[in-house]
């Protein structure tokens, strides 16, 4: 047989995708700074606002990345947010429960979703999409069962959590020369801590590496002795927990619970993950990529809000276009890889 020429390629398609993501974020942000410099886009607070508005997205995005790496998906997260916010609001306003207990309830709801969905997907082998689609409708419907009207959270302690500013050593000068220090909220701290923990977990823990193995080739993982069912189950449980936690952060932002809350949020989370380099087919994806994906989403939002005249629907559309682009890009890369190896 002829000798096959071996091509030395250090080019790794997956790091390439991450580079595109980060580059895209920087490009968008800098473009915003240039175009909207008069509207304050260049101030450090603008960037910190990105983190503030998207703390929940970052946390939930991490959870979604975890299950997507195993080759699954979770489209119930938006409904979980709505349910958690509604339940928290109801508990604190109508049932006089302390905010601490409300937070516990949030985490428990997330866990419950994770356990049930994880069981159906992992042990009964039902497609993740159908299970989490049912979860999505279930959650949203349950939100309406708790209350059909919006409930605002007026609980003092909770509000103080929401409004507590943490000031940064840097800031910006107003036109009059007064120094306004930049600030963030505790939600950002929580989100960043979670992000770092998940990054460490995915890279340095046995569980994390097993997620990648299962996503890469489930059959091989099984033959190499990994407990695939249990790992997948735990992935969904963790994803559910993070959904609950992220919902709590969301609630601190919105200070209310209503039926239509976070509609379509699952799309934001999935987009953040895919744009951040997570492959829909599984096996590839990092929390840091998702972080930048979330920042991209936030930047799009900020750009459109700052522009002022475009309707907010454009955010969804722009995100969907980006998502579509990245999905097609992944598909093209996969086809190229297949050809290379045949």
């Amino acid at each position: 047989m002829k000798q096959r020429r071996k091509e030395k390629r250090t080019f790794n398609g997956n790091t390439f995708l991450l580079v595109i993501t980060i580059g895209l974020f920087l490009a968008m942000y800098i473009a915003g700074m240039v175009v909207f410099s008069d509207k304050g886009f260049g101030k450090p607070q603008m960037f910190l606002n990105l983190l503030i508005s998207n703390a929940g997205l970052i946390v939930i995005g991490c959870g979604l990345t975890i299950v997507m790496v195993t080759g699954g998906i979770d489209i119930s997260v938006g409904s979980v947010i709505a349910l958690v916010c509604m339940v928290m609001a109801d508990l604190m306003e109508n049932k006089g429960v302390s905010p601490y207990a409300a937070v516990l309830a949030a985490l428990l709801i997330g866990l419950a979703f994770g356990v049930v969905q994880g069981f159906l997907i992992s042990y009964l082998n039902i497609q993740p999409f159908i299970v989490t689609l049912a979860g999505m409708f279930f959650g949203r419907g349950l939100t309406a069962v708790v209350s059909k009207e919006m409930i605002s959270i007026k609980n003092g302690l909770f509000q103080s959590w929401a409004k507590c500013r943490i000031y940064m050593p840097f800031g910006s000068y107003s036109n009059k020369g007064k120094f306004h220090p930049a600030y963030i909220y505790p939600t950002v701290v929580i989100a960043l801590v979670v992000l770092i923990l998940i990054i460490v977990m995915m890279k340095y823990s046995k569980f994390g590496r097993q997620l990648y193995a299962i996503g890469g080739n489930q059959q091989s993982a099984l033959m190499m002795g990994l407990n695939v069912k249990r790992t997948k189950f735990l992935a969904y449980v963790l994803d559910g927990f993070l959904a609950g936690l992220g919902s709590f952060l969301f609630c601190l932002n919105s200070l209310a619970g209503f039926v239509e809350q976070a509609k379509g949020f699952e799309m934001d989370a999935i987009s953040a993950s895919v744009i951040g380099g997570t492959l829909l087919t599984g096996g590839v994806g990092t929390p840091i990529g998702t972080f930048f994906g979330a920042l991209i989403k936030g930047t799009i939002s900020s750009l459109i809000t700052t522009q002022g005249t475009l309707s907010s629907w454009w955010v969804r559309i722009a995100l969907s276009v980006l998502l579509c682009f990245f999905i097609v890009l992944q598909s093209v890369f996969a086809a190229m890889k297949r050809k290379k190896h045949s």
Binding site: M1, K2, Q3, R4, K6, R9, N12, N14, V200, K203, Y204, S205, K206, R209, Q210, Y212, A213, G215, G216, N217, Q219, S220, A221, M223, M224, G225, L226, G283, V284, K337, H341, S342
Partner: protein
């Protein structure tokens, strides 16, 4: 050469509903030996390995390892691994999205303070790879590595897990010559260290290049264990295919040959047609009324050759002429419109459409040929179905029975009926009688002859040489993905065929 005995399997039997997969099979593996396990499809090789590695439970017999006092029973691959038996499969069960080092240590990563110690893992991997002379960096992505390297990494993983018995299941099917050599070098190295290697392959050259002993299975039974140097190739082939060299009795039913010899233009004429990776460029002419057989061992490229003719695989090179006119076949429908039909080798996967009825399975090819808009009337369909149920004696409760509830032989008849309905000029039958009872086998062979009498050109593929000699007027012999010979007339006898299949005058006569 009295090496220490590492593994003995004695009197192993295993059956499945309706099938006796293994009967009183034995196998002995010595330390530092490379032992080939050979046999055709259905011989029982994979069942034996699955019994050894714990995927199946044996029904009788025992397995002993390394002179241990008591026989071992493996209930799962993990248990087998714990007993020192590791397997590397053809599909390389590794994770393509992880690095080489990760694949080597997945599930048993070195840790520090509870976290995975990447530095140590990479260092250990480097040492392991170096010791086995595998030229790859620990941090490389597995999917970037060639298949040969991937297989070697799978072997390295097994070695690092202290395996005593290493089973290599068809490791060389997708490798080129250089890569095979690299693999052999690794195997010899392991052999020198005392590992016992069970090498399952169908490539004759490779068996003679690297193996010390050969065990042959046939139809679930043990044929014999031989030292490679004492077993000539032709004898090996004979033992695998079940014919004693001395037995040259032939049954060639009298049927009018050469009826269509006046036809100058072949029905099918292929020139240098090939598909990269599966079949080397070949020339082939098939005339009206001819039954051309393709023979060779499993994996020699027979199915690949016909798939290229039929357009199931797009040819990379060469050209094809049908009835003297240039033909461009890029998909099966093109071939069908030119009058070809194809009964695939894997009935379950590529043949039957399980939940559809017998009637629907029979008419589907003709319907596809006619196109979406010209639906066959119900009466037409019923008539066609009844016709072939009758002609081929298909045993079914009715036309509307889902084809999945028929027996294998009857399913095969349905597929034959499907293609006969399209009245092809050229019919390809890939292993039409595999896994079918004797009565149906003979019926199909007779059918092929009568079709040829009526002017159809047929290509018949089978691993059973005797069957082919009974039906074919010409035979192409393939080996290792290329055509190595064409036999006709007087050459069509057991001995010549066996020898052409075995080939290799260099080693043994």
């Amino acid at each position: 050469m009295n090496q220490k005995i590492l593994l003995t399997m004695k009197d192993i039997s295993k059956s499945f509903p309706g099938v006796l997969a293994l009967q009183h099979v034995q196998f002995t593996l010595r330390k530092g030996e490379i032992h080939a396990l050979m046999g055709e499809n259905g011989a029982g090789k994979s069942t034996l390995i699955k019994v050894l590695t714990g995927v199946y439970q044996l029904e009788s017999g025992e397995i002993r390892m390394d002179g241990a006092a008591r026989p071992i029973v493996n209930h799962s691959p993990q248990e087998a691994q714990a007993n020192g038996i590791s397997t590397v499969y053809q599909e390389v069960n590794l994770c393509p999205n992880l690095t080489v080092a990760e694949n080597l240590f997945l599930g048993r990563e070195p840790r520090r303070f509870g976290m995975i110690d990447w530095k140590t893992m990479n260092r250990k991997s480097e040492a392991l790879l170096k010791s086995l002379e595998i030229p790859v960096a620990p941090a490389a992505m597995l999917e970037e590595c060639s298949l040969a390297i991937q297989q070697m990494i799978a072997i390295a993983r097994a070695v690092d897990m202290r395996c005593k018995v290493l089973i290599l299941d068809e490791p060389t099917s997708s490798l080129d010559d250089d890569e095979v050599e690299k693999l052999f070098a690794l195997m010899r190295k392991l052999k020198a260290e005392g590992v016992g290697i069970l090498f399952v392959t169908h490539f004759l050259e490779q068996v003679y290049a690297v193996c010390d002993r050969i065990t042959v299975l046939r139809n679930g039974g043990f044929v014999g264990e031989y030292e490679t140097k004492d077993l000539p190739r032709v004898m090996l082939v004979a033992k695998m295919l079940g014919k004693d060299l001395d037995d040259l009795a032939e049954i060639k039913s009298a049927h009018s040959e050469h009826r269509f010899e006046e036809e100058k233009v072949p029905v099918i004429s292929a020139r240098q047609l090939g598909h990269r990776g599966t079949i080397k460029p070949f020339d082939l002419d098939i005339r009206k009324g001819e039954v051309v057989g393709l023979t060779g061992l499993l994996g020699s490229g027979r199915s690949e050759m016909v798939r290229v003719l039929y357009g199931a695989d797009r040819p990379d090179c060469g050209k094809l002429m049908v009835r003297g006119r240039k033909a461009k076949i890029s998909k099966p429908l093109d071939a069908m419109k030119l009058g070809m039909g194809y009964l695939p080798e894997n009935r379950q996967r590529d043949g039957i459409i399980a939940e559809l009825s017998v009637r629907e399975n029979i008419i589907i090819a003709l319907q596809a040929k006619r196109g979406m808009c010209r639906l066959m009337s119900r009466r037409e369909m019923d008539e066609a179905a009844d016709r072939y149920i009758d002609l081929l004696q298909i045993k079914t409760a009715g036309r509307e029975t889902p084809v999945k509830s028929l027996s294998g032989g009857n399913q095969q008849k349905v597929i034959i009926g499907r293609w006969l309905l399209t009245h092809p000029d050229y019919l390809i039958l890939d292993e039409p009688t595999r896994g079918i009872d004797i009565g149906t086998k003979t019926a199909i062979q007779k059918l092929v002859l009568s079709l040829a009498d009526q002017g159809m050109a047929v290509t018949f593929i089978s691993a059973e040489v005797e069957e082919m000699l009974r039906t074919c007027s010409r035979m192409l012999v393939l080996r290792d993905g290329r055509k190595v010979g064409e036999l006709s007339g007087d050459e069509l006898n057991q001995e010549t065929v066996m020898q052409t299949i075995a080939g290799g005058g260099e080693d043994d006569g």
